[in-house]
């Protein structure tokens, strides 16, 4: 019974807890689909406009819709993780969990599972809408989509873990980070334009972020019809480092929360 033992049963218990919560509230379910659908429709119609008026390069292969869908994996993945964590803060249930046998690794694993569940609830219907409205089938990307997904979800989890640690340590005063932190990735990871667009010094920073490789890889696939495995492997290597750093930060923040008594409060 060490701190490092891992019980799938406890992970399943936490997933069940979040599933009960989602099931009990239709606005929560609707929220998962609403914004991704609005985003996809807006960018899809913009793509149609560009197709009709711009050069052949700009018209190439649905990059806007692809970027929107992949960006939502990154953004919604992190939000799915962080919101499930915040549910415990809002319910003032964290104390009950922290005195139970639930390990931090099991808690984080349950949050990762819920991030994928919430993402699926939102993204699968929206991806089908993209086919219906714009003839863009993200599923046709096949294995490349799997590589994009793995890299983006790993980044989203790493950010989610770090933000959850901050909220654990600083209380709900840090809640806004969960909603806003990912937006710094929007310009820096070059979601809608090539990295070459950035000034050279900013490109250096962009290439330290795993999602940059994914969005470049997506453009290579849609425009040049080339799957850049090298980019995916580099993103994976960076993600491993980022994930390890996030876990280390989370454990340090949890230890700090135990020292300063913030687990007893879990309020503002």
């Amino acid at each position: 019974m060490s701190a490092f033992s891992f019980s799938p049963r406890r992970v399943a218990a936490m997933v069940l807890r979040y599933w009960y919560l989602l099931r009990s509230s239709w606005p929560r379910l609707l929220e998962l689909i609403y914004w991704p659908a609005v985003q996809m429709l807006m960018w899809g119609f913009l793509q149609q406009y560009v197709n009709a008026n711009a050069s052949a390069f700009a018209r190439a292969g649905g990059t806007f819709i692809g970027a929107v869908l992949l960006w939502d994996i990154l953004f919604r993945g992190q939000l799915g993780f962080s919101v499930s964590f915040l549910e415990e803060m809002w319910a003032r249930n964290l104390g009950n969990l922290m005195i139970s046998p639930l390990r931090p690794s099991e808690f984080v694993s349950a949050l990762m599972v819920m991030s994928v569940v919430r993402l699926a609830i939102g993204m699968v219907p929206v991806s089908l809408l993209a086919v219906a409205f714009f003839g863009f089938n993200v599923w046709s990307l096949g294995l490349a989509l799997a590589a994009f997904f793995v890299n983006l979800i790993l980044t989203s989890w790493a950010i989610g873990i770090f933000v959850s640690g901050l909220v654990l340590r600083n209380g709900l005063g840090a809640e806004n980070l969960a909603w806003t932190i990912m937006f710094i990735f929007l310009p820096l990871t070059c979601v809608y334009y090539p990295v070459a667009t950035l000034p050279s010094w900013l490109q250096v920073i962009a290439w330290t972020l795993p999602p940059t490789y994914v969005f470049e890889g997506m453009r290579a696939l849609l425009i040049e019809h080339a799957f850049r495995a090298d980019l995916m492997l580099e993103a994976l290597a960076l993600n491993v480092v980022l994930f390890a750093l996030a876990v280390a930060a989370f454990l340090a923040l949890l230890a700090s929360a135990r020292r300063n008594g913030s687990l007893m409060q879990t309020g503002e």
């Binding site: 406890r10 218990a13 009990s24 249930n93 139970s100 230890a255 687990l263």
Partner: protein, 254 residues
């Protein structure tokens, strides 16, 4: 320790907790024999809640040692957390989940076997059977307390920590809760530590009382001995004597 002496359920030695510049707990030592029921009394800011939080591993001590059910806390917390539990009206259960869902989740977290039967039995004991499928947020204060108690008993804990277990309950419901706790202790031989402001409750339930003030233990004895030594007829008067620093004078006088 003598091999023939059973290990205490809780052993605290020179335990201290300092938050930046504020000392919440100041070098306290006590032990709770297995199967005992002890009251932890003290005014606001006396250090009761921080002490209980350290026993559960929720707060790291600044110095001193804690052994709970044979495990060093907080380092070995995962050896014993499944054998402990906690109830407080100030720690809520998820409101949107039904009672059954909450007990199902916590039962799984605590690794309770035959969980369905356990939930049915505990619901019956705490008169929650008819409410099992109602959302926890739609219950009255008394019903919520019973749900918290059900959660605290779901794993049949050997050590049960209670923080103001009957706060905000009407006298009838509070009495009912106290009776259930006494019965649980009697049937399972569990160790109970109750932090409370309710002197009558402590006097009725506890065989021993630890009185804390500004992070220190000011007194530690049976209710009968405390009443005798302070020359008082109620624990409330004893508490007021200690709170107003007349305790030692009374002790000397007696």
């Amino acid at each position: 320790m003598d091999a023939r002496t059973p290990e205490p359920a809780v052993a605290v030695d020179r335990l201290a907790k300092v938050y930046k510049t504020a000392t919440a707990v100041d070098g306290i030592s006590f032990s709770l024999p297995a199967g005992s029921i002890t009251g932890l009394l003290g005014g606001n800011g006396a250090g009761k809640t921080t002490t209980i939080a350290m026993l559960m591993g929720l707060v790291s001590p600044t110095s001193g040692t804690i052994r709970v059910l044979g495990a060093a806390m907080p380092r070995q917390r995962y050896r014993v957390l499944a054998r402990m539990n906690f109830e407080s009206p100030y720690v809520e259960m998820p409101m949107r989940l039904t009672i059954r869902q909450n007990l199902n989740v916590f039962g799984r977290l605590y690794g309770v076997d035959a969980l369905g039967e356990r939930i049915a039995r505990i619901a019956s004991e705490l008169e929650l059977t008819d409410l099992l499928d109602r959302p926890t947020g739609k219950l009255s204060a008394g019903q919520k307390t019973r749900v918290s108690l059900a959660k605290a008993l779901i794993n049949t804990p050997d050590l049960l920590l209670l923080d103001e277990p009957t706060a905000s309950l009407d006298p009838d419901t509070a009495d009912w809760v106290r009776a259930r706790l006494e019965r649980y202790r009697h049937e399972h031989g569990a160790t109970l530590l109750i932090a409370s402001h309710n002197m009558a409750e402590v006097e009725r339930m506890c065989e021993r009382v630890i009185i804390m003030k500004t992070g220190r233990i000011e007194d530690d004895d049976t209710p009968a001995n405390l009443l005798k030594r302070y020359g008082r007829s109620t624990l409330e008067d004893v508490f007021l004597d200690v709170a107003r620093s007349r305790g030692h004078a009374a002790e000397t006088a007696s």
